[in-house]
Amino acid sequence: MPITISTKTVDREFTKKIEEISGEPLTKCMQCGTCSGLCPVEATSDVSPRKLIHMVTLGQREMVMNAKFAWLCVTCYLCELRCPRGLDIPKIIEATRQVKLRSNENFIEPFEIETVMELPQIAMVSAFRKHTA
C-alpha cells in the first residue's frame, strides 16, 4: 500500500502527540522491519508495526486511525526485545490506541461478550483496559 503524502495529509501535531504519549523518539526508527518480522499478529493485520511507525512519523493521522493494527497488537514485547534501536515499540502502538480510546472509540462492547462466565478475570480486565474507552 503506497503512502501518498501532501501538505494536506501531513499532521505534525499528530506525530508530536504520539511522541508525547509514548515517550519514545520516533526518529530513532530506521525502518529495518525487525519488529514486523517477529510480530505474531502482523500476518492478520492490514499494516505492519514498521509501517505504522512510518505513517506516524510522516504525520499520517487518518491512515493510522483507520489501521487495525492498534487493536490487534497483543503487547507481547517481542519487538521491543529485538529492536536494534532500543525503541519501546509497544509504547508507540499504545499511544495510537490511546488516541482512538480518548476519542471515545470502543473496539469491543463489554455487554456483548458471550463467554463472560467462563473467562478468567485477567482476560476481561486486560481486554477492557486495551479495547474500551
Binding site: P40, A95, I122, V125
Partner: protein, 296 residues
C-alpha cells in the same frame, strides 16, 4: 521461612488450582506463603502511556500493602500480575518525577520508593530452595515425561523484569529437569498465546493457539507447563474448540507448573484442584498413574 504473597483476582476463582498447589508445595519445601491483607487487582496490564499514572495506583497500592505489613518481598504466581507489579515497582525505583506524583496522589498511604522486591515463584524455587534441594525433595520423580515449558510473553519481557535471560531463558527447563522430567525444546515457548485477543479477536487467537499446540505436538511433548491463567484458558480450557478445524492436531494436556511440582513432591492430588483442569488433562494424569497417592 515466611514470605509475603500476592494472589491476584484469577487465583481466587478460575485458577484456584495454581494457588492451592503452590501454597501446599511451598509449605512442603519449608516456605510459608502469607497472603497480603487488603490486596487489590493489579490492573492485569501495565500502563504504557507516559501520561497515564492513574492505572499505576492499583499495583503501587499493593506494593505499599506489602511494605506496611513488614514484607521485604512479595511472591507472585500469575504471570500477568508478576509483570504489572514488577514493572510498577521498577518505575517507583527509577522515575523520581512519577514516583513523587504517585506518592503525592496516594497521600493517605505511606510513601513508597520501590523498597519491596517483586519475585516470581520460579525464582524462589531457583534462588531460595535451589534445584539440587528441590530435586532431593522429590518423592515421585516425573521420569519419562516430556514436558514443554511455556513462558508466554509476560514472564520474560521486557527484559528489565525478566525472571531469567530475556532471550532463550532456561529457568522453566531447569525446573522441569529438577522434577525428574525431560524439558522439551520447542519453537513456541516464548511466543504469546493471543492474550486478551481471545475476547476481541477470537479468530486470530485460534490461529495462534493452533500454531502453539501444533509445535508442542510436533516435538512429541506429553504436556504443556505454564504459569499464566490466561494462557491456561486459551491453551487449556479452550484448546479443543480452538483447534477443532485442524485435523492433524490432537489435544495436549496443560498444567500449571505448581501442579506438577505438587505431584512430584508427593502432595495429595486433591490439594492441586485438578477439577479445574480439563477432562483430558485429568484422564492423562490417571493414565500415567499420577493421581494415586505416594506411599510414605
Amino acid at each position: 521461612m515466611k514470605t509475603g504473597y500476592y494472589p491476584g483476582c484469577t487465583l481466587k476463582t478460575k485458577a484456584g488450582n495454581l494457588e492451592r498447589s503452590a501454597i501446599h508445595s511451598m509449605a512442603a519445601l519449608g516456605i510459608e506463603m502469607i497472603e497480603l491483607e487488603r490486596w487489590n487487582c493489579c490492573g492485569a496490564v501495565y500502563s504504557l502511556a507516559d501520561d497515564d499514572l492513574i492505572h499505576l495506583l492499583a499495583p503501587v497500592r499493593d506494593l505499599i500493602r506489602a511494605q506496611d505489613q513488614g514484607f521485604d518481598r512479595v511472591v507472585v504466581l500469575c504471570s500477568m500480575c508478576y509483570n504489572v507489579l514488577a514493572r510498577a515497582n521498577l518505575l517507583m525505583r527509577e522515575d523520581e518525577v512519577k514516583r513523587d506524583a504517585i506518592n503525592n496522589f496516594l497521600e493517605e498511604e505511606n510513601d513508597y520508593n520501590g523498597e519491596v522486591e517483586v519475585v516470581h515463584l520460579l525464582n524462589v524455587l531457583k534462588d531460595d530452595i535451589g534445584w539440587k534441594k528441590l530435586s532431593d525433595s522429590v518423592k515421585r520423580p516425573l521420569t519419562g515425561l516430556r514436558l514443554a515449558p511455556y513462558y508466554g510473553c509476560t514472564l520474560t519481557r521486557p527484559e528489565e523484569i525478566s525472571i531469567d535471560r530475556g532471550i532463550s531463558p532456561k529457568i522453566f527447563e531447569e525446573f522441569i529437569e529438577a522434577l525428574g522430567a525431560t524439558a522439551v525444546s520447542w519453537e513456541e515457548s516464548e511466543t504469546c498465546c493471543g492474550s486478551y485477543q481471545i475476547i476481541s479477536n477470537p479468530e486470530a487467537a485460534k490461529e495462534t493457539v493452533s500454531r502453539i499446540i501444533g509445535s508442542a505436538v510436533n516435538r512429541e511433548a506429553d504436556a504443556l507447563i505454564l504459569s499464566c491463567p490466561l494462557c491456561e484458558y486459551s491453551l487449556g480450557n479452550r484448546q479443543s474448540d480452538l483447534i477443532e478445524s485442524e485435523s492433524d492436531l490432537h489435544e495436549i494436556p496443560t498444567f500449571y507448573f505448581t501442579q506438577l511440582l505438587a505431584l512430584a513432591l508427593g502432595i495429595e492430588p486433591e490439594e492441586s484442584k485438578f477439577d479445574l483442569n480439563t477432562d483430558s488433562a485429568r484422564e492423562w494424569l490417571s493414565e500415567k498413574g499420577l493421581l494415586a497417592s505416594v506411599e510414605a
